[in-house]
C-alpha cells in the first residue's frame, strides 16, 4: 500500500532512474516533509544536483524550467499551492505554452509543473482554489487532474515522458488516501478518460477528488434503482470528448462534477461538447455540481457550505432521473 504522496515520489524516482535528463526542483522540495511525501527520498537517491531547493521566485523558476527544457532536459517543477503559479503565469502561458508555436513547432518544451489545490481545512481563499479551467483554456498546455492513488503516479509518469508543457494538478484531499499501486509504474495515455463505474441512467463526468465524490453519490442512488455511469476524465487537455459523447449517447442524462467554479468551467465545456454534437440530445437538463462561486472561506462553518455536498448531489440526481 502506498499513500498518494509516496506513489508520486515513486513515479518521480522511476522517471529519474530511467532518464538522466529528468530533474526536480521547487521551493522547499527537500524539506523533511518532502511535499507531503511526494518528493521524499529523491535527493538521497539522486543527489542535490537532480533534486534541488530554490528561491521563492516562481516566474524565474518557470522560465528556468523552460530554458532547461529547450536544452533537452525534462524538468519537474514542484509547487506547494496552485495559487503560487499565478506569479509564474507569464512564463507558463506566454512562454511555455506559446514558444513551440512561435517557433513553428521546431521544438517542444517537456516541462512538468506539479501544483497542489490545498483543499483541506481552513486553508482559505489563497490556498485552496482550483484554477485548472484557466490553464485548460490555453492552447498547447496539457492539464492533468488525477483522481486516485492508483492513477496519479501513472499520469505523472506520462506527464514527465510527454513532450508538451504539462500542469499536473493534485488535490490535497487525496493525500490522505492509500492504495495498492502496481510496480513498476506504467504510464497511462493522456487524454483517455476512464469509466470507473458503469451505469445506464446518467453520465457523471468528474475530475480529481470529485470522481470519488461521484462514486459515493452513485452508490447512494442504487437503492433508488438509479445506475449512474462515472467517467473520470483524468486530463482536461487533452480532453477525451469521444468518451463523454459515447456515454451520454447511452444514458441521455448528464451531470458534471468539478473541483472548481462553474462560470466558464468544466460543466460549461462539457455542455459545449455535447450540445454542439447534434446526435446527443439529452432527456434532461444538465446538472452541475461544483463549489460555490466565491473565494474559499477559512471558517469551518462557512467552508462546509462552500464545497459541494454529496447528499444534495444525490437528491438532485434523483429529481433529474425521475423527471
Amino acid at each position: 500500500m502506498l499513500s498518494f504522496g509516496e506513489a508520486l515520489a515513486y513515479a518521480t524516482k522511476q522517471a529519474m532512474e530511467h532518464d538522466a535528463r529528468v530533474f526536480a526542483y521547487g521551493e522547499g522540495i527537500n524539506d523533511p516533509g518532502g511535499f507531503f511525501g511526494s518528493t521524499a527520498g529523491l535527493k538521497e537517491a539522486f543527489s542535490e544536483a537532480r533534486c534541488f531547493d530554490v528561491p521563492n521566485s516562481e516566474d524565474a523558476l518557470m522560465g528556468f524550467g523552460i530554458g532547461a527544457s529547450l536544452m533537452g532536459y525534462r524538468p519537474l517543477f514542484v509547487n506547494l499551492r496552485v495559487e503560487f503559479l499565478m506569479l509564474a503565469m507569464n512564463q507558463l502561458v506566454n512562454h511555455a505554452a506559446r514558444l513551440p508555436a512561435m517557433s513553428g513547432y521546431q521544438y517542444t518544451i517537456p516541462l512538468t509543473v506539479r501544483a497542489i489545490v490545498g483543499k483541506s481545512w481552513g486553508q482559505a481563499a489563497q490556498h485552496s482554489s482550483a484554477l485548472h479551467s484557466m490553464f485548460a483554456n490555453i492552447p498547447d498546455l496539457q492539464v492533468v487532474v488525477p483522481s486516485s492513488v492508483e492513477d496519479a503516479p501513472r499520469l505523472l509518469l506520462a506527464s514527465i515522458l510527454s513532450d508538451a508543457p504539462t500542469v499536473f494538478i493534485e488535490i490535497k484531499s487525496l493525500y490522505d488516501c492509500k492504495a495498492l499501486v502496481h510496480l513498476p509504474i506504467e504510464p497511462l495515455p493522456l487524454g483517455k478518460a476512464h469509466v470507473v463505474r458503469q451505469g445506464s441512467d446518467i453520465t457523471c463526468v468528474a475530475i480529481s477528488d470529485m470522481v470519488g465524490f461521484a462514486q459515493r453519490v452513485s452508490e447512494q442512488l442504487v437503492a433508488d434503482g438509479i445506475e449512474a455511469e462515472v467517467l473520470d476524465l483524468r486530463s482536461l487537455a487533452p480532453l477525451d470528448s469521444a468518451a463523454i459523447l459515447n456515454s451520454v449517447s447511452k444514458t441521455k442524462r448528464l451531470a458534471v462534477f468539478d473541483i472548481g467554479w462553474e462560470p466558464f468551467g468544466l460543466a460549461a465545456e462539457v455542455a459545449r461538447i455535447v450540445s454542439t454534437s447534434a446526435y446527443h440530445r439529452l432527456d434532461a437538463p444538465l446538472l452541475s455540481i461544483a463549489r460555490r462561486h466565491e473565494h474559499t472561506p477559512a471558517s469551518c462553518f462557512l467552508e462546509e457550505q462552500h464545497y459541494a455536498n454529496e447528499e444534495h448531489a444525490a437528491n438532485s440526481i434523483r429529481a433529474l432521473v425521475r423527471g
Partner: protein, 332 residues
C-alpha cells in the same frame, strides 16, 4: 589615437556584420511601405554595435536569446537572412514558418533559440539554458539580450539572484538606450543604475560605449573568456541610442530624450564611428570597404526581391486582402 594592434581582418568582419544589419533594416523600411511586411517591426538601427560586438566575440555554439528588438542579434549570431526575410513576409519558408514574425525571430542552427516580446521574458529562460550548458561540462555560455525597459521587470531581479546563487554562465547584455517606448529611464527608475544593482545581487558587471563596436567586442571577449573559466554570470551594459521610432520604420517622434537631439545621436552612431576608425586605421582599405558595402546591399536586395516575389505569388494564389494604405514612411 592609433590602434596599432588592430587586426585588419577583425575590423573587416565587424564592418561586414554591422553593414549587413543596417542594409537589411533599411530595406525593411522599403518593404514595410510596400505593405508586404504586415506587423510590428522594431528596428535596431543605431544599436547594432552591442549585438555585433558581443556576438562576434562569442562562439557559434554559445546559445543566445533575444527580445522584440531582435533583428541585429539574429543576424549577428548568424541567423539565416532568407529565413528572416521570408518570416517578415509571412511565408512558410520563414525561420518560424510564419508563426513568429519580426518579434520572434529564431534560428536553431545559429543557436539563437528564441525571441520574446514580453519584456524580460527570455531572461529567466536564459538561466535554465545556462544551467543546462553548465551541466554539460562544456564551456558554452548563454547570452541574454534585454533593454533598459526590461530591467524594470521583477523577473530580471529574480534571475540575477538565481544566476548568482547557482553560478550560472549567463551573460546579460543590457542595451541601455535610456528609453522604453516613449518613457525615459530616469522617469521609470529612482536609481537607473543597472550595473550597481546587479553587483548588489552578486553579479559582476561593467558599462561600455554601446555605439563603439570595438569597445563592445573587446569587453565581451574578456568577459566571455572569464565566464568560461568561472561559469559565473555577468552583466554588460551597453549605452546606446535608438535612432528610429520604437516600432515601425517611421520618423523618430520629437519631444523625447530632451537632453539630446536626434542630430547629435546621428553624430555618434555606430556605423559612423566604425567607418571613422576604418578610415583612420586603414585608409588604403576605403575602396575595398565601399565595394563590400555595395556587394552586401546587392545580396540583401536579392533576398528581399525573391521574398517579395514569393509574397506576391502567394497573395495572388490565396487572394490575400489588400493591406490598409501605408502610413507616412520617411527615411530618418
Amino acid at each position: 589615437m592609433a590602434l596599432t594592434n588592430l587586426p585588419q581582418q577583425l575590423l573587416r568582419d565587424l564592418h561586414e556584420k554591422m553593414f549587413l544589419i543596417r542594409a537589411v533594416e533599411e530595406r525593411i523600411k522599403v518593404e514595410y511601405a510596400s505593405r508586404r511586411i504586415r506587423g510590428p517591426v522594431h528596428l535596431s538601427i543605431g544599436q547594432e554595435a552591442a549585438a555585433v560586438g558581443v556576438l562576434h566575440a562569442c562562439r557559434q555554439s554559445d546559445v543566445c536569446v533575444s527580445t522584440h528588438r531582435n533583428h541585429a542579434h539574429y543576424l549577428a549570431k548568424g541567423g539565416s537572412l532568407a529565413g528572416m526575410v521570408d518570416e517578415l513576409f509571412g511565408l512558410d519558408t520563414g525561420c518560424c514558418k510564419g508563426y513568429g514574425g519580426s518579434m520572434h525571430l529564431m534560428d536553431l542552427n545559429a543557436n539563437l533559440i528564441l525571441s520574446s516580446a514580453i519584456l524580460a521574458g527570455s531572461i529567466p529562460i536564459a538561466s535554465g539554458i545556462a544551467f543546462a550548458l553548465k551541466n554539460e561540462g562544456t564551456k558554452r555560455v548563454c547570452i541574454g539580450f534585454l533593454g533598459d525597459g526590461a530591467t524594470d521587470e521583477g523577473v530580471f531581479f529574480e534571475t540575477l539572484n538565481l544566476a548568482a546563487l547557482m553560478k550560472l554562465p549567463l551573460l546579460f547584455v543590457v542595451e541601455n538606450n535610456a528609453i522604453s517606448t516613449m518613457t525615459t529611464f530616469s522617469k521609470r527608475q529612482a536609481v537607473p543604475d543597472v550595473v550597481g544593482k546587479a553587483e548588489r545581487f552578486g553579479v559582476r558587471g561593467m558599462t561600455v560605449d554601446g555605439n563603439d563596436v570595438l569597445s563592445v567586442y573587446h569587453a565581451a571577449q574578456d568577459i566571455l573568456q572569464g565566464m568560461r573559466q568561472t561559469h559565473e554570470p555577468f552583466v554588460l551594459e551597453t549605452v546606446t541610442d535608438r535612432l528610429c521610432a520604437h516600432v515601425g520604420p517611421i520618423v523618430y517622434p520629437s519631444g523625447i530624450g530632451a537632453d539630446d537631439t536626434l542630430q547629435s545621436r546621428w553624430m555618434r552612431e555606430p556605423m559612423l564611428i566604425l567607418n571613422e576608425k576604418l578610415r583612420s586605421e586603414f585608409p588604403d582599405q576605403l575602396d575595398a570597404s565601399l565595394a563590400r558595402e555595395r556587394n552586401l546591399r546587392e545580396s540583401v536586395d536579392q533576398v528581399f526581391i525573391r521574398g517579395a516575389q514569393r509574397f506576391d505569388a502567394d497573395a495572388l494564389r490565396l487572394q490575400l486582402p489588400a493591406a490598409p494604405p501605408a502610413q507616412d514612411v520617411r527615411r530618418v
